[in-house]
Structures are given as C-alpha cells and as structure tokens.
C-alpha cells in the first residue's frame, strides 16, 4: 500500500466510523497535506426554513470537525514519517479535543453544498491553534470562519 492510500484510507475510515460525521454527511478530500471538507446539502441541515438558511450549529460543527480532521491528518503524516513511511495496521488516531472555538457567521448559508479548509496556525506539543474557513459558491466569499484551540492527545511515553 502506498503512503498516499494508507493516509486516505485513514481519513475515510475515520469519517465512516464517527457517527456524528455520518449524521452531518461530511466528506473529506486530501490533496498533499491539505484537507478539503465538504458538507453536501440536505434538508436536515436547515435552521431557518423561511429563508431558507443552513443552521448555524450545522455550519459550526462542520468547521470544528474540519479542524479536527486536518490535525488528525497532520498527526498521521508525522507518524508515517516517524514509522518509515507506513502506519501500523492497528493505527488508531488520537482525536484532538476542542478547548475553545469562536465562530464568526459572515453570510447566510444557502441550501447548497458547503466547503471548508483549516489552517493550523501553530501546533505545539499539547495545543494546536487552528483557523477554519467555510464557503459555498465562491472561495473568497466565506459564509463562516472559526478559530480555536485544540488539545492534542498525549502519547503514552
């Protein structure tokens, strides 16, 4: 198995094994070390049926999970490099836990597909600070952005 497919399998496995990611219907694509997350539109994501507009909670959860997946991916790439380019068969990625997140809602989310990417602004030993952006038709027209701190799981020494 190539490095790339092992890494992609990891992300696929994670996204299909976490119920809440399935509930939201999220999809993740990897290009090099960058994750692009997708939240395909479905009526269950609506918060305001009269506009209609996506629920801020759905958009917020999407941003948060995108940040987590980017951190998990970065960790897996580091672990692969440390393990000579391979991940152990029983590799279970440790999930970073949000400490605090601030969401800015910039535009009403339309009832269409939404995309998000995360930028890890600093990754320390214990804490990672991450900015996440979500958009729909135009990358430059963000519907929401978030920044937050995540607690990275400590490996047993």
């Amino acid at each position: 198995m190539t490095e790339t497919s092992a890494h992609s399998d990891l992300l696929d496995g994670l996204s299909s094994s976490i119920p809440y990611i399935r509930f939201l219907g999220l999809i993740f694509e990897r290009r090099g070390d960058e994750i692009t997350a997708m939240m395909p539109y479905k009526p269950d994501l609506i918060g305001n049926p009269f506009l209609p507009a996506l629920h801020g909670g759905a958009t917020g959860a999407f941003l948060e999970i995108t940040g987590v997946m980017q951190l998990v991916s970065d960790t897996a790439l580091q672990d692969m490099a440390a393990g000579g380019g391979a991940l152990p068969d029983d590799y279970i990625p440790a999930m970073p836990k949000p400490i605090d997140i601030t969401f800015d809602y910039l535009r009403s989310g339309k009832p269409i597909d939404t995309y998000a990417r995360a930028i890890v602004q600093r990754r320390g030993r214990r804490i990672a600070n991450v900015r996440i952006e979500a958009w729909q038709e135009e990358r430059a027209k963000l519907i929401a952005a978030a920044h937050g701190n995540f607690l990275l799981s400590q490996k047993a020494p």
Binding site: S17, I18, P19, Y20, I21, R22, F23, L24, P43, D44, L45, I46, G47, N48, P49, F50, A53, L54, H55, G56, G57, A58, G60, A61, F62, E64, I65, I92, M95, K97, P98, I99, D100, I101, T102, F103, D104, Y105, S108
Partner: protein, 155 residues
Amino acid sequence: MSDLEASLTGGTASPDGEGVALTGLPHSNAMGMRLISTENGEAVLMLPYSAELIGDGATGVLGGGAITALLDTCCGTAVFSSKEPGVVSTATLDLRIDYMRPATPGKNVYAHAECYRMTRSVAFVRALAWTEARDKPVATASASFIINRKAEDGA
C-alpha cells in the same frame, strides 16, 4: 403554549418524553433537540443522548459540534423569547464556546441561555450546557445575534 413555542415546535406539544420537539427548526429537530421552557429572554433546551451524535467512538462522548449546535439554538431561542416588540428574525453573528468537560456518555445534555442585553440591532447572550449538574458545565457560550425588526419600526 406561547406563540414562540408554537412557531418553534409547529404547534404540537409532544407528550412523549421531556419538552417538545423543535419541528420548526429542521436541523435541531433532526438532532432530537427539545424545548423545555422559555421565559422573557431566557430558554432551556435539551439534547437527548443519541448514538448518531457520537464524536468519539472509543468513549461514546457526543461530538463537540453537537454541543455547539445545541448552544447556538438555545441562544437564538432566548433572543426570540424576549418580549421586545417587532423582532421578526435573528441570526448568529458570532459564538464563542468553551468546552469544560466531555458530556457524560448516555446522559441528556441541557442548555440554558440568557439574553442579557438587547439593542435595536444586536442581542448579547450567554449560555451554559450541562449533563448531570449545572455546576459542572460541559460548555459555556457567549454570543451576539443580529436583530431584524419589522420595517414599520424603522429598523
């Protein structure tokens, strides 16, 4: 049932379980959220524990995003429940969440939000989420909402 509760719940109180389903808010309803009570500028919601909303399979803890969605909904409901005249709609401007401890697996999550200041255009809200005890919060939230008023109010 108040007009607010009727608009959020589609006018049908659900006799099953605690509170009423939020059928007026599709995403909240899909998550299973229930409206427990509203008062002037305050709201209490409950998110029943659900296997669908687990964010960490190893522990069974609900996803942080589910708590975010609960707190966002609770804050918005608190804004709507204020007795200010002419408020027709509201939307989240920003929302900060502090996650204090994991929600206990298997337990329902409660949230209480209070709109403590409302100007013509903006409402300021704080909220708390907990499972077993209010003094052991799962998360707190601080949010501001944009207020859309009826046109005749000169907004």
